[in-house]
């Protein structure tokens, strides 16, 4: 029972308090780049969720049962990049075969997840802070749900802003950055929620 409670608390804390985009500043590129339409933002969030969970499941045993016993934990970043890149490729091929329509919707964002630092950030945090398997899973789940929620909220706000009369110099990315900053300040309100 206590384990389940701490698992859920860890998810909430990684999702809201240590939000991947707004307080750890990972994955800003796709956040700004894809977050202008709700539909593509949602599919990007789902794809990132899937890749982060897969990467966590593969990289955790690789680090603790291969790299550490062999005495070469310093190679972790190199190994993670290799694993994530291959995973994204395989997932891409799989989606292309099974669901061409989803493949079309995701388009270029699918291969771009390879270079999304949120994925690398999760697995790197897991090994650097020596988290146990359950907390690693909570980290992956919380981070990816946090990314999904924030990018969809951001896309909603940007879609609404299309109808407003914004000064010419602030149109597009500048106003988006201001919105992101306001969101980050709002998310600071979650600080201290989980003790």
């Amino acid at each position: 029972m206590e384990m389940i409670v701490s698992f859920i608390l860890a998810i909430v804390s990684y999702m809201l308090i240590d939000n991947v985009v707004l307080s750890r500043f990972y994955g800003i590129c796709s956040f700004i780049g894809v977050g202008n339409k709700v539909k593509s933002a949602f599919s990007m969030g789902l794809a990132v969720t899937f890749v982060i969970m897969m990467a966590t499941l593969v990289c955790y045993p690789l680090y603790f049962y291969v790299l550490v016993p062999a005495g070469i934990p310093f190679l972790d970043t190199l190994v993670y990049i290799l694993v994530i890149a291959s995973l994204v490729q395989i997932v891409g091929l799989f989606i292309k075969k099974t669901s061409p329509s989803l493949y079309k919707t995701l388009g270029i964002y699918l291969p771009l997840i390879t270079t999304n630092c949120a994925v690398l950030g999760v697995v790197q945090t897991n090994s650097d802070s020596q988290l146990d398997f359950l907390t690693s899973l909570a980290n992956g789940l919380g981070t990816s749900i946090g990314f999904l929620v924030v990018i969809v909220l951001f896309a909603c706000m940007r879609e609404r802003m299309n109808g407003y009369n914004i000064p010419k110099a602030m149109k597009g990315v500048p106003i988006a950055l201001i919105v992101a900053a306001l969101m980050a300040m709002a998310f600071m309100g979650f600080g201290g929620m989980v003790g």
Partner: protein, 108 residues
Amino acid sequence: MEYLTVLWAFLLMLGLGAVLGLLLALAAKFFHVEEDPRIKEVEDMLPHYNCGACGYAGCHDMAEALVNGTAKKVSLCKAGKKDKNYDPIIAYLSTHPDKDGKTNVPTI
């Protein structure tokens, strides 16, 4: 001792690379999707820069759009030359109809 570390690192990267490479090769074979052979032919006639200046995600996407008629102009490809890329593609697409006998010939 240091030699052992180097050896382990070398073996691990070699093994990991081999395993992942094999997995990718198997996945490419297993999840192979049959597509219009003309797409490959048209892609070979594009400059292969994958710059994305045409508005598509790389040369393969552009070739697909040209073949199925979504892209109406070959000059969308900013890196292409008239004699090297545009003319051969137009000539190829006007002589190679799809399996229903329909042709989508782009203009310059």
